[in-house]
Amino acid sequence: MAKKLLIGFIAVIVSLWFLTPVVLIVFASLTPSSDFYDPHKLFPTKLTLDHLYKLFVVLDGWRATLNSLQVAGLSIGLSFLVGLPAGFALTRYVFPGKNAFRLSILLTRSFPMMIIAVPLVVLYLKIGISDTLTGVALAHTSMILPFVVLITSSILSGISVEYEEAGMIFGLSRFGAFLKITLPLALPGLAASAIFAFIMSWNEVFIASVLTLINRTLPAHILNTAMTSPDYFKFAAGTVMALPAMVFIFFTRKYLMSMWGISLK
């Protein structure tokens, strides 16, 4: 009993530690500017959606949000199109250089984006896709793809080959067996990793800022506009950035845990 209390106590402390800033940010974003700058008020006396409205409508935040969604969607689509077959090959087949391949996938993550960004701008200018969403999506794909390859390979390796082989014995082609047997079994995990990929793209700010001027994604847009605005705007921007990710993670936490091999029990 005492042990349970202690664990509960620690859990509360940890939760407070992580949640307090988030709650403060959300509150700040809803605080009217008069209250915000009043040093005698720790908590606002009334709440307003004014800042969020301004951020979205006046400062063109809605367009940036749409851009972000497009970029995320496109990069998820691209990285699964390439990454899923690659992950499948990594788990199901033996081929020369397999380990080197796996390692090189990891290595691509060791290049800081800043180093790649500038040559990328030059390249994009040459081939005419600078300041386009496609360009940003391609860059995000390069960031997400290694993750997708490794994660899908680990998800697929958790699904016995024999399910697939049984499918082939009972009348499916190899591809059919993958589609009808393996994919449904992998779907929860794949969905979780897609959402994780979404968050990676949604939160990415550096490449998006460097590669675009007008067609900015939400974080790049915020960096450009809100950060030169009053503080409550910054908090409003923070809320807008953080909430979707948190909601997604909350609803998929079970799959995310299993994806990373963490067991809740």
């Binding site: 024999e162 399910y163 082989e165 049984a166 014995i169 009972f170 009348g171 499916l172 047997i181 079994l185």
Partner: protein, 362 residues
Amino acid sequence: MAQVILENVKKYFGQVKALDGIDLIVKDQKFVVLLGPSGCGKTTLLRCVSGLEKVTSGRIYFDGQDVTDLPPRSRNVSMVFQSYAVWPHMRVYENIAYPMKIKKYDREEIENKVEWAAKLLNIHELLDRYPAQLSGGQRQRVAVARAIVLEPAVLLMDEPLSNLDALLRVMMRSELKKLQERLGTTTIYVTHDQVEAMTMGDMIAVMSAGKIQQYGTPEEIYHKPANLFVAGFIGSPRMNFLEVEIQRGKGEVFFISESVKITCPLKLSDKLRDFPQKRVTLGMRPEHIHLSRVESGYPLRGEVYFSERLGADTIVHFKVDEEKIVAKIPGDVILEEGGSVEFFLDLSKIHVFDPKTGRSLV
């Protein structure tokens, strides 16, 4: 229902010769068991027949049709996997129905056949469950039901009973065998359990190191092992082997070692007359060494050094001079360790092998 013929089938994984020239004829409606130690290539052979594995060379025929290059789905084979591979995202009903659904049977026919298979395997009340809600034995039944629902030409089973407890295994053994006889499906069954092989198989192919060592009925395999490997692999406890020299007297042949001098039975001596080498290996099964005097029994006097009482039988390890011999005698017999005993070896049941090639000489 089909006759299966394998012609010099080889399968190499890089340097590993998993199958090294397999010739095998499985007659229509027969139950053939592939038996052998771990890693001898049983699963690989089964997978080659199913089409899941491509052969390196050789040909496979079903009823005269060359299926070597056909994918599994075009071969009309079914398989029961060792892990059962019952699809976890489908209910039992859907699992059994799925092979028919893929082949686009109409709904009524599917329902009838699933009903039929479920009845046959006694899994009626499980049809609405998911595999996760089944026990190992029930899952195994579902796997078998799924495998027979389309009445395949050839049914393949890879150690389907190895994950069951001993009691269930014995029960399923006879059930599977009865089912096969009823359906008359040509069946290839992999196991490394010799009791399973002896009780279920119409024919047994004993394998080792990618080769078939002997192919015959259970009686042939037990009574006339073709070589040292088969002799040693079949039977429990293992056959005793004794290195002896052949000595030819007037009309008689003797087997001589430091500890024994055995007069060779006439039946054997004819066959050994022209054998050029001096040395042979004698094989004698523990169950052919008796405690009481038998006709044509050769007395083995020695000292007990260990005995295992199994209840129904007693396994006695004893030494004749330096030669260690194991006997299996019926009943619960108490023999004092270190005490001297006299056993009688039934000479009509001994085997003689060429120690160089391992081949049986009789």
